[in-house]
Symmetry: C2
Subunit: 469 residues, 2 copies
């Protein structure tokens, strides 16, 4: 029986093909040229997307790397997926691209169907509504705005805006503006626009010199691994964080509009917490009238073996935001009141993009039609078991292996950033594109079509790189 990758990508290489150092001479020349007009300071190499296929990214020098990073976790099915390519060639796509609508004012005749068959077909249970956005940052900020307006509306009741509100807000002053806040978590990452960046607490370099709102942060559990050997300690740590959360709520009485949390903190280091912790937050937010926003921008789209990672926890938040692997950003919600009662408050020119909604529909349908969640769970379990062996073989280099039963949403800790970065560099030279997170961690973010064959190659290169450190 052929694997899903073999079905989609008959021409996917058997293994990485390495012809030059990475970046090679062609990449370097192209980066030099591009740097004359565009910022290339963060560029690893130039990618040839025409010749990338499936789980392999091709670079400008013709190197083919197995990709376990996938455009920062945003390629769901693989490069040049035939079903997505078919969608891109459709007349529906042409019309969507050539006539990008102002969706809130002049929605298209087919937008309902595209949402129903795509984004809404995979929505978390009970989530029946969606607002579309442009990026993960944008989706989170729209969720924040929804929370602020919802809270203010609850307080205001049937009263209309006062003259003082209407005038003070034009000077960015109370009472027209708001002194409510979003409570986020230490090491969380929610984006880099001014509101989302104020909730981001991943790394200083993301935030330095940029004005931020005086919004509070709560501690996020620091679990000890292996989990099964630290159950009592970890439960106490999670309870400590829940208690601290409630203390902060008491320090900001009536001021916390919403809390936002990633079901696994990704950029900040792939930090996990248990269902107990996430249910505890549900209980506390309900008790205190705080909206509970789960940020599934990086965790969503199936990499954990469920469509949304928080579904592993059996919790039901108020708002779920998404982007990346969905290729279309936005947020799901249950209660129509979250949308607000007046037009032009939650509003912008485009309010999303039907061309991205079309791609999202294909991705969602392919995930469902090909049991890709099941594939991800099974391959993830195999990958995790192989990494357990590696952890045993290299106990000084690999620790805190994380992501058991979370598909291939897997990571581990290395001794420090310098060793970690050297490890990533060696992996790339050997044909494995792989990413960092947090201060000293490695994160795996392959596509949902990543198979046993790819796993074996990844493990082989990882072992080789570790042996060279």
């Amino acid at each position: 029986m052929s694997t899903i990758a073999e079905k989609y990508y008959p021409s996917e290489p058997e293994k990485p093909v390495i012809k030059t150092a990475i970046p090679g001479p062609v990449s370097q020349e192209m980066l030099k040229q591009l740097s004359g007009v565009y910022d290339t300071k963060a560029s690893y190499y130039v990618a040839d997307y025409y010749n990338s296929i499936g789980n392999y990214i091709c670079d400008a020098d013709g190197n083919m790397l197995l990709d376990a990073y996938c455009q920062i976790a945003s390629i769901a099915l693989g490069y040049n997926n035939p079903e997505i390519l078919k969608t891109t060639k459709s007349d529906q796509m042409s019309v969507a691209l050539a006539n990008r609508p102002a969706l809130a004012c002049f929605p298209s005749t087919d937008y309902y169907k595209i949402l129903e068959e795509g984004l809404l077909a995979v929505a978390p249970k009970g989530f029946t509504r969606v607002l579309t956005a442009h990026t993960g940052s944008d989706a989170n900020e729209m969720a924040f705005k929804a929370a602020f307006i919802w809270q203010a509306t609850k307080k205001r009741g049937d009263a209309s805006f006062t003259a003082e509100e209407l005038s003070s807000v034009m000077d960015n002053k109370l009472p027209g503006t708001s002194d409510m806040v979003i409570l986020s978590f230490d090491k969380g990452f929610h984006g880099r626009l001014f509101g989302s960046l104020s909730t981001t607490r991943s790394k200083a370099i993301h935030k330095l010199d940029i004005p931020a709102f005086n919004w509070p942060k709560a501690p996020y559990p620091a679990l000890k691994y292996p989990l099964e050997e630290h159950e009592a300690e970890n439960r106490a740590e999670e309870q400590r964080c829940l208690d601290a959360f409630e203390t902060i709520v008491s320090q900001w009485p009536g001021k916390i509009a919403a809390t936002i949390i990633e079901p696994v903190q990704s950029e900040g280091g792939d930090n996990h917490a248990s269902p107990f912790f996430f249910q505890g937050l549900r209980d506390l937010t309900t008790k205190h009238g705080i909206l509970y926003i789960i940020d599934e921008v990086q965790t969503g789209g199936g990499a954990s073996g469920k469509m949304w990672l928080h579904e592993h926890y059996g919790i039901s938040p108020d708002i779920v935001t998404f982007s990346k692997k969905m290729q279309n950003a936005g947020f799901y919600f249950k209660d129509k009141e979250i949308e607000g009662a007046m037009p032009f408050r939650q509003f912008n020119t485009w309010c999303g993009d039907p061309s991205k909604a079309l791609i999202a529909r294909t991705i969602c349908q392919e995930i469902m039609n090909n049991d890709l969640l099941d594939n991800t769970s099974k391959v993830g379990a195999y990958l995790y078991s192989k990494l357990e062996d590696i952890q045993k073989s290299y106990p000084k280099l690999v620790s805190n292996l994380r992501g058991k039963d979370r598909g291939h949403f897997i990571s581990w800790t290395m001794p420090n950033a310098s060793i970690r970065d050297k490890f990533l560099f060696i992996c790339r030279q050997n044909g494995l594109n792989i990413g960092a997170c947090g201060d000293e961690s490695v994160r795996l973010r392959p596509t949902l079509t990543f198979g046993v064959k790819h796993t074996d190659i990844l493990i082989d290169i990882v072992s080789k790189a570790l042996s060279q450190l």
Copy 2:
């Protein structure tokens, strides 16, 4: 000789076709269905983009409306433009859509060429660099971040970040965060994310209940019309605003990172100022070390008869932001230092979208190859002269006609919002899709292929609607 619209759109209707009230029964049914999953509170009707063509938008009931609003000023060439459709069918587009890159980390082999032949080929004089973004709001916020980092870097010199900066910033506190500000203008509109919304001063409803930074605003000139009868008064008004600007600068010593201004305030009411005022701002910002950001999100892309409206003023700002008609957002700049010296500070996952850069390239090339700026200037002059006649015929209903020598970037004032909204409604029922701005103004935002023939139809419907008020 055929007009550009006849060349592009041989099947464009001769005049509007009205079959039902707008919204008609099919639109209403579709809006009801869509409202079950998506926000439709701001929807006028459902649009059939498959059957829209050129300067005519088709609705779900088969009505064909002449469009002078164009998805809130964001359709440059017309609906289903054949050259854009060709671009959407290209393999390059398929690859761009199916493999959306994290551009800053893994730029594509063709990104340099796409930028060079598109966005950079139409950049304001002397602007040699671009950073791409996702929306106008996003472009403006990236420009703000560039300004904050640039100012902080200038102050810090060669020193590295202090331990206190590195730790305080994680709590959103000084000195790691910044207490610098962006100075914007009364009635300006720069977007609706938290940073951009803090600079937006258009309408209270855009801002109410949303937290905002305590950033200052300067007065924007309130010119009297007709301009030629109020030269001395208007010059004094502009000088008053320049003086007020400098007073605010003195009240925020060393704290103003940048000022942002639209070359014509669009959403806030199509408020114009003269080259004297904009040059005055250039002089003051240079004198005080403040970056000068021109927001061309709505004004750019050729509607004024020049690619960028500020080019009418002969000024050279530091940063120019764009979106809407370009279909690709971002900002131009001249000085590489604006980009910052370290990677991952001005950064996000996608950093733009090659599929949008491809559309932008086609739009830019079509504008250049078909002399669409010239077309817009000429048609705009004709349209303006016809509206002057209307203003004379309906002096109580139409006043402050604005946009002479600014292509068809034209607007006028009506007695109040209720009469204005009734006017827009009657126009729609008669086959003209037309938009509002400010409290009581009407703004025209047709495509660059809008011709004399379309102008005559527009004038006819406008006259008819005015006669019914």
